[in-house]
């Protein structure tokens, strides 16, 4: 089954969502979260702007991943607000929450593709949230528009030639790029990436970050990535937030981040 050329797909305009009007599609304020006796987040706030790649750095256990999950309420925070495209997710439940959450797409640490399906079908699945059930019973019933969008997304991450390969047979870097294509196909205004390169070799990691940066620069997406590699962060991000013990330690343009800033994040492990 030949699929539509990506050039035809490029005519599909990315509908300007209500998010487009907003300058900062994701605004977190005073997010608090406690797991038992551990206060993991002690009132964290941040603003993610359109066309920006923002990287959150911090030692293991400083609350970066929890923050990302709280931001779209995969975990329910104990307090604070998370405004995604102007809607406060803390006030929503059920269907309304699901609808609002579509504005954010998530790229996970371990590659979360359905291994038995093709790369193409996996990318199409990014659009599931926008499809009525009867158009999404099987990959064959996805509407043409979604299939075109998926082809374009694969083209965008330079994986089009692997479209019909089963996801289980892709390399780690390829699979993560397909996962990004799936996020792209979701047509969200915000992409959240939770340690997207921690399972990848240095070169694949470099490619994935270049891609995330490019999505911010060329598509105007707001991209938030949690990373463990300060050097990658400084090289690719527009802005870097350092987190320490559940609080924001610094928030600077990446050019202004000093080595002392970086050391301060990981230093306390050695002091102890």
């Amino acid at each position: 089954m030949p699929f539509e050329s990506p050039l035809a797909a490029s005519k599909v305009s990315t509908e300007p969502s209500r998010a487009a009007a907003l300058d900062a599609p994701l605004v977190l304020a005073g997010i608090r979260k406690r797991f038992g006796p551990n206060e993991v987040l002690k009132g964290v706030g941040l603003e993610l702007k359109r066309g920006e790649l923002l990287v959150v750095l911090g030692a293991n256990g400083c609350g970066k991943s929890t923050l990302l999950r709280c931001a779209i309420r995969l975990i329910k925070p104990d307090g604070g607000s998370s405004k995604l495209c102007g809607e406060d997710l803390a006030k929503l439940e059920g269907r309304a929450l699901r609808r609002a959450r579509r504005e954010a797409a998530v790229v996970f640490q371990q590659v979360a593709l359905v291994k038995q399906r093709t790369a193409f079908d996996n990318v199409c699945a990014g659009a599931l949230g926008q499809l009525p059930l009867f158009r999404s019973l099987t990959p064959g019933s996805f509407p043409r528009e979604v299939r075109e969008r998926a082809a374009f997304a694969l083209h965008r991450v330079r994986m089009l030639e692997h479209a019909w390969q089963r996801a289980g047979t892709l390399s780690g870097g390829q699979a993560q790029r397909v996962a990004i294509a799936r996020a792209y196909c979701q047509q969200a205004s915000v992409i959240l990436a939770d340690e997207p390169v921690s399972a990848l070799d240095p070169r694949a990691a470099e490619e994935v970050l270049e891609l995330l940066r490019d999505l911010a620069d060329s598509d105007g997406l707001a991209v938030l990535a949690v990373l463990h590699q300060p050097d990658l962060a400084l090289r690719h991000a527009h802005r870097v937030i350092g987190m320490k013990l559940g609080e924001v330690a610094f928030d600077r343009r990446s050019a202004d981040v000093s080595q002392d800033d970086i050391n301060s994040l990981y230093g306390h492990l050695h002091e102890a």
């Binding site: 779209i72 995969l74 699901r98 609808r99 959450r101 579509r102 954010a104 797409a105 998530v106 996970f108 371990q110 590659v111 979360a112 593709l113 359905v114 291994k115 038995q116 399906r117 699945a125 990014g126 599931l128 949230g129 926008q130 499809l131 059930l133 999404s136 019973l137 099987t138 990959p139 996962a179 799936r182 996020a183 979701q186």
Partner: protein, 283 residues
């Protein structure tokens, strides 16, 4: 109490004094527990033997006596009745039809229960418990007993056997399927949930493709079990080759029965082979 190693050969030069093996600890309590369990098992076996009226002399006369299996029934069963081959094959095909239909409906029923019956995707704990309870009940009523009820409702027919095997199969396959889902990789499920997919969409696009191969393997594995059950049900009124065997045995016609049993063995072995072959291709 350290033991000394007996020295049979020369020690290598420079090796110091011979190391001593520490005394083996005596397993006091554990040994008592084992002894107790052994005595309890023995008592249980003796009780069971008496309860079923076990008798060694009866066993030997039954097997080897002048009116026993080998002197009396085996000669009367040979040679197999050649004129019963086609009726036998025809009946075995009916039995196969019962097996394949009950597997098909059983798979539909089991998959339909999956969204509730797997702990990791169920929308609520009480629904999960309810689904598992239904499966446990269906599983614990033997298909033979179910058939006795359905014979009253549907009359003596292979169809009654299909219904009985379907319900019993939902109990068995439903549990196996649910356990397969509970062991699956949840990362793609989380990913689609985060993308705003509904429960049913997540089920169709992450859960089912993820366990498809496992479920197909389990189904093929259950196929020959279902065939053998269908034979048994046939003897009680579910038709097919089990029914023929029962009929001929009732009038002590052993030669046709031999034919049927040969056909049966061939069918079971063929089904096993094909199912093993198909399963090995599933990767």
């Amino acid at each position: 109490m350290p033991l000394e190693l007996p020295i049979t050969g020369a020690l290598p030069a420079g090796s110091g004094p011979l190391p001593l093996i520490p005394a083996k600890p005596r397993g006091g309590r554990r040994r008592q527990v084992w002894a107790l369990m052994f005595v309890a098992l023995l008592a249980l076996l003796i009780y069971a033997w008496i309860d079923v009226g076990g008798s060694l002399s009866q066993f030997f006369t039954g097997m080897f006596g002048s009116k026993g299996l080998f002197q009396n029934i085996v000669p009367a069963s040979l040679p197999p009745a050649a004129n019963q081959i086609w009726p036998g094959v025809d009946a075995a095909l009916t039995t196969f039809a019962v097996a394949i239909l009950s597997i098909f409906f059983g798979v539909i029923g089991s998959v339909a229960m999956l969204p509730l019956a797997a702990r990791n995707i169920t929308p609520s704990r009480p629904l999960y418990e309810l689904a598992r309870l239904i499966q446990a009940i269906l599983r614990s009523i033997p298909e033979l007993i179910m058939l006795l009820f359905f014979l009253i409702v549907f009359g003596f027919s292979p169809f009654a056997a299909v219904v009985a095997l379907t319900f019993h199969g939902i109990g068995v396959k439903g549990k196996l399927f649910a356990e397969a889902v509970e062991e699956m990789d949840m990362a793609p499920v989380e990913a689609l949930r985060a993308a705003g997919a509904s429960r049913l969409q997540v089920f169709l696009h992450a859960v089912l493709p993820g366990v498809r191969n496992t479920l197909t393997g389990l189904t093929l594995y259950r196929l020959d079990a279902n065939f053998r059950s269908a034979v048994t049900l046939g003897a009680v009124g579910g038709g097919g080759i089990g029914f023929l065997i029962d009929n001929e045995l009732n009038v002590f016609q052993f030669r046709p029965v031999t034919t049927y049993i040969i056909i049966l063995v061939v069918f079971v072995m063929a089904i096993e082979r094909v199912s093993t072959l198909l399963r090995s291709r599933l990767t």
